[in-house]
C-alpha cells in the first residue's frame, strides 16, 4: 500500500480530477462523483434541509436583514454604542467647527481634532485596534466654505507620531508630512490655511509608514462648499452646494468614505465598507425621499487595492470629479471608479422612480461580497 498515502497528500487539483476521468474512472470506486454529486447540489434543493437562515442561497429574496444578498452577508450586529459612532448617523454628521471673525473681516473656522488609539468593531464581532481622529473611523467629516480661513488644532493622544495632511491648497509648512506638522504623542500642532479650492476633498495622516497609518483608520472627508458670490454665473448651483442655504435644504446629502480593514495584517483587506461597518447599509438601508434630489460626497481611502468604484442600481447620476467644478465632469453614468484619495460628488434623483430598495456597491464583486454594499430605501417621504 506504500505510495497511496503520498498520492493522497498531493494537492488534489482540478487537473487530477480530470486525469482520473480520462483514465476511465476507477470503476465502481468513482461513482460517488457524477450523478450523485449533482443530485445533492445545493441551490436546487437546499431549502428545507439547509441550515440557512435565509433559505436557499440562490433564491432568497429581500427579507429581513439579509436583504437582496440572501445568506451571503455577515451575521450579527455591530454595537454602535460601544464604538461611539453609528454608520447611519455618520452619513449626515458634518463637523462644521466654530466660527469667528478675523480682524480683516474674514471668517475664521476652527476645528479641533485629537488622534487616539481605539478598539472598534468593524464588523459584527470583529474587533480592530484602530488609530482614529476624534475616536471615529472615518474621522469627522469637516465642512467649510470657500475663502474662509481654517485653523485646525491637532493634538496627538495616540501611541505613535501622527499628522493631518489635507488635500487642498496650502503652504509647505502646513502639509502634515514629516518636518511640517507631524507630531509625536502628547504634542500639539495648529494647521492654518485658506479653504480652497471648493470641492470634495479628504485628509489623512501622513506619518510613515503611510500604508499602516492610513489603513489603521486615520482619514476623513474634507468638503469645501463653493461661495456663491465668487461664482455669479452659476450662483444657483453653488448655493445648492452651500450647507444650510435654502437651496441646499432641498437636497439629501450623504458623506460616504469607502474604506477597508486588513484584520490579519497580511496586506489584504478582510472587510470592505463605506463608513467602516461592513454591510451596515444592507442591514439598515438609507432612507431617501423620492421627490428630493440626492448628493453623495464620495471618498475612496481603501488601502492595498489600487481601485474602488461606486455603482448605483436602477438609476444614473452626474459626477463631479473631486467636486471642484459646478458642471459635471461625467454626465449620466451609473458607475465611477476612484483610486486611493480620489473623490467626487454624485448627484441623482429618484423622482421618476417607483419606491423600493435600490442597491449600491462597488463593481469589484470581491469588495461587494466582503461587506461594501448597501441599499437606498426610496420612499414617498422620509420623516
Amino acid at each position: 500500500m506504500g505510495g497511496m498515502q503520498g498520492w493522497l497528500q498531493e494537492r488534489l487539483s482540478r487537473r487530477l480530477l480530470l486525469a482520473g476521468g480520462v483514465a476511465a474512472a476507477g470503476a465502481a470506486a468513482a461513482n460517488v462523483t457524477g450523478a450523485k454529486g449533482e443530485a445533492a447540489h445545493p441551490g436546487h434543493d437546499a431549502g428545507g434541509t439547509a441550515v440557512a437562515p435565509g433559505g436557499d442561497a440562490y433564491t432568497a429574496g429581500p427579507s429581513g436583514h439579509s436583504g437582496a444578498h440572501g445568506a451571503m452577508v455577515t451575521i450579527g450586529e455591530v454595537d454602535s454604542g460601544r464604538n461611539g459612532f453609528d454608520p447611519g448617523a455618520m452619513l449626515t454628521d458634518w463637523e462644521v467647527g466654530t466660527l469667528s471673525t478675523l480682524p480683516d473681516g474674514r471668517t475664521l473656522r476652527t476645528f479641533e481634532i485629537v488622534a487616539e488609539d481605539k478598539e472598534i468593531e468593524i464588523a459584527p464581532g470583529v474587533m480592530f485596534l484602530a488609530w482614529t481622529y476624534n475616536g471615529r473611523v472615518p474621522g469627522p467629516a469637516l465642512r467649510a466654505t470657500e475663502g474662509e480661513r481654517l485653523r485646525v488644532v491637532f493634538r496627538n493622544y495616540g501611541s505613535h507620531p501622527h499628522s493631518i495632511h489635507f488635500h487642498g491648497i496650502h503652504a509647505a509648512r502646513m502639509d502634515g508630512v514629516p518636518g511640517a506638522g507631524l507630531i509625536g504623542p502628547g504634542e500639539e500642532f495648529v494647521y492654518e490655511f485658506d479653504a480652497r479650492p471648493f470641492g470634495c476633498h479628504l485628509y489623512h495622516c501622513h506619518a510613515l509608514p503611510l500604508k499602516r497609518h492610513i489603513h489603521k483608520g486615520m482619514y476623513g472627508a474634507f468638503v469645501i462648499d463653493p461661495d456663491p458670490v465668487r461664482h455669479p454665473e452659476q450662483a444657483a448651483v453653488a448655493r445648492s452646494r452651500l450647507l444650510g442655504s435654502a437651496e441646499n435644504l432641498g437636497w439629501q446629502e450623504f458623506v460616504m468614505v469607502m474604506n477597508a480593514f486588513d484584520t490579519n495584517f497580511d496586506g489584504e483587506n478582510e472587510f470592505y465598507a463605506v463608513n467602516t461597518v461592513a454591510h451596515a447599509y444592507m442591514k439598515a438601508p438609507i432612507a431617501i425621499a423620492r421627490s428630493r434630489p440626492v448628493r453623495i460626497y464620495l471618498v475612496n481611502v481603501v488601502e492595498f487595492d489600487p481601485i474602488n468604484s461606486f455603482h448605483l442600481h436602477g438609476n444614473f447620476f452626474d459626477y463631479y470629479d473631486q467636486g471642484t467644478t459646478l458642471t459635471p465632469t461625467l454626465k449620466t453614468v451609473d458607475l465611477i471608479t476612484q483610486c486611493q484619495a480620489q473623490r467626487g460628488i454624485l448627484e441623482f434623483s429618484f423622482a421618476e422612480h417607483e419606491t423600493g430598495l435600490y442597491m449600491f456597491h462597488p463593481h469589484q464583486s470581491e469588495f461587494t461580497e466582503l461587506g461594501w454594499v448597501g441599499m437606498f430605501d426610496v420612499r414617498e417621504d422620509v420623516a
Partner: protein, 400 residues
C-alpha cells in the same frame, strides 16, 4: 517499599528497608504542597503581568472534517487558542456568509464545533473557507475539489469495499499464490526471499512514518502529532515484540502471521486516508491508479509466504492470512470516509509502522539464525535491493 530487599545492594541503601510509612507519606505530601504553594503565589501576585504586552491571545484552528451536501458545506474545527476563541464571521471564496455554529459560543482550547454554511458549492470546482475570529485573525481551509460527501448507504459502502479488495486483498492473495512455486527454492533462494521481505517492509516503514508525520502536521496542535506518532510506533513495536517473544523468537507460521498483522495495520491506516480522500472529493481514482496499487502491493503476499515455505500449512490458513493483511484496507476505507480526522489516520499509520518494525527485526533475526555468514551474502543483498527497488519503482506508478 516494604518489600524485602531483592539484593544485597538494595539492603545497603539507607532507610529503604526500615523507612516508616509516615515519613514516606510526608515526602509525598511536601512536594505536592510546594507545588500548590507555587500556583497560589502565581495567582495571587500575578508576577507574569509584565509579560502581558497587550497583544491579542494566540489563536489556532485546525480543520478536521469537511462535508458537502444539499444544505451547503460543513466543517468540523478544533480550537487551539491560548484562551477561548470566538469565530465571528465566515467567508467562503472571499464572500461573507451567514453560518451556524454547533455548539455555539466561544471555543475553549481543544474544543471542536461544526460550522455550517448554506453555500451553493459547485461540483468539481475548488472552494476556500476562511474563518475570521474576534481578533481579526483568519484561518483558511481549502476544498480542492468539491463533490458531495459520500453517505453510508449500501452502494457507497459496496464501492469502497470493492476498491479496498482491489488494493488490499487481491495483491496479497496473488502474492501468496506464488507459494507452491516458491517452495522449491534452495538455501540461497530462501535467503533472497527473506531479504526481499525485509526490503519491502523497510520501504513500507519509511513510507508509513513519512505519511504519519505529514498527517500529524495537519492535526490540531493539541494532539502533538509528531510525539504521538513516535510514541504510538514505539509502543506498538515493543508490545508486539514482547508478545512475539513470549516463547522465543517467532518463526514459521507465527512469523508469517506477524508480517500479515503488520501489513494489515498499515493497510488500515492507508484505508483511513483513502476513505478520507473519498470524503474530500479525491475520486479521480482511475483504473490505472488502482492497477498501480495492486501491482505495488503484490510483494506483500510474497513476504508473508517467505517464512512458511518450509512448513505444512492448511489451505484455510492462507485465507486467514490474506484477510488479516488485506482486509483492514476495506475497514479503513469505510471508517475513513465516514469519520475522518488526520490525527486518527496518523495514529493508525504509526501503530502500523511499529508493527512493521517488529517484523523487520524478526525476519532479520531469522536470517541471522539460518546462517550468520550469509546475512551480507550476495543473495541477501540482492533480495534486499529487489524488495526496496520493486516497491520504489511500482510506487512511481501511483505518485502524481
Amino acid at each position: 517499599m516494604r518489600d524485602a530487599p531483592t539484593s544485597d545492594q538494595d539492603a545497603e541503601l539507607p532507610g529503604v528497608a526500615a523507612a516508616p510509612s509516615r515519613k514516606t507519606l510526608l515526602w509525598v505530601i511536601l512536594p505536592l504542597l510546594a507545588f500548590v504553594g507555587a500556583i497560589a503565589v502565581l495567582i495571587a501576585t500575578n508576577p507574569l503581568a509584565r509579560f502581558d504586552n497587550g497583544t491579542p491571545p494566540v489563536e489556532n484552528i485546525a480543520f478536521e472534517r469537511t462535508i458537502l451536501d444539499g444544505g451547503g458545506l460543513r466543517v468540523l474545527v478544533r480550537a487551539g487558542g491560548a484562551e477561548p476563541m470566538t469565530i465571528a464571521q465566515v467567508q467562503v471564496d472571499d464572500a461573507y456568509w451567514q453560518f451556524k455554529q454547533d455548539p455555539p459560543g466561544p471555543l475553549p482550547r481543544g474544543a471542536s464545533a461544526w460550522i455550517q454554511v448554506p453555500f451553493p458549492w459547485v461540483l468539481g470546482e475548488a472552494h476556500a473557507v476562511k474563518l475570521v475570529t474576534t481578533t481579526g485573525a483568519t484561518f483558511l481551509h481549502e476544498i480542492p475539489v468539491a463533490v458531495a460527501t459520500p453517505v453510508a448507504d449500501r452502494s457507497s459502502l459496496l464501492s469502497q469495499a470493492i476498491l479496498g479488495i482491489f488494493v488490499g486483498i487481491v495483491p496479497v492473495a496473488v502474492g501468496l499464490m506464488f507459494y507452491p512455486a516458491l517452495r522449491g527454492v534452495g538455501q540461497r533462494g530462501m535467503t533472497f526471499l527473506l531479504a526481499l521481505t525485509v526490503g519491502l517492509l523497510a520501504f513500507l516503514l519509511v513510507d508509513a512514518m513519512g505519511d504519519a508525520f505529514e498527517l500529524a502536521g495537519e492535526a490540531a496542535p493539541i494532539f502533538q502529532g509528531n510525539a504521538m506518532v513516535v510514541l504510538a510506533a514505539a509502543a506498538s513495536f515493543l508490545i508486539l515484540m514482547a508478545i512475539g517473544r513470549r516463547n522465543g523468537a517467532p518463526r514459521g507460521l507465527a512469523l508469517a502471521t506477524y508480517i500479515a498483522l503488520g501489513i494489515g495495520l498499515h493497510n488500515l491506516g492507508e484505508g483511513l486516508a483513502i476513505g478520507a480522500a473519498f470524503a474530500a472529493g479525491a475520486v479521480g481514482l482511475g483504473t490505472f491508479l488502482v492497477f498501480g496499487f495492486t501491482l505495488h502491493n503484490v510483494t506483500e503476499g510474497i513476504g508473508i509466504a517467505a517464512p512458511i515455505l518450509r512448513e505444512k500449512v492448511a489451505p484455510w490458513v492462507f485465507a486467514a492470512l490474506v484477510l488479516l493483511a488485506g482486509g483492514p484496507a476495506v475497514l479503513g476505507l469505510w471508517i475513513g470516509s465516514l469519520a475522518f480526522a488526520p490525527q486518527w489516520s496518523a495514529l493508525a499509520l504509526a501503530i502500523g509502522a511499529g508493527a512493521i518494525l517488529q517484523v523487520i527485526v524478526e525476519v532479520t533475526a531469522l536470517l541471522r539464525r539460518r546462517d550468520e555468514a550469509r546475512l551480507f551474502s550476495p543473495a541477501a543483498m540482492t533480495g534486499l535491493a529487489a524488495g526496496v527497488g520493486f516497491m520504489y519503482l511500482t510506487a512511481m506508478l501511483v505518485k502524481i
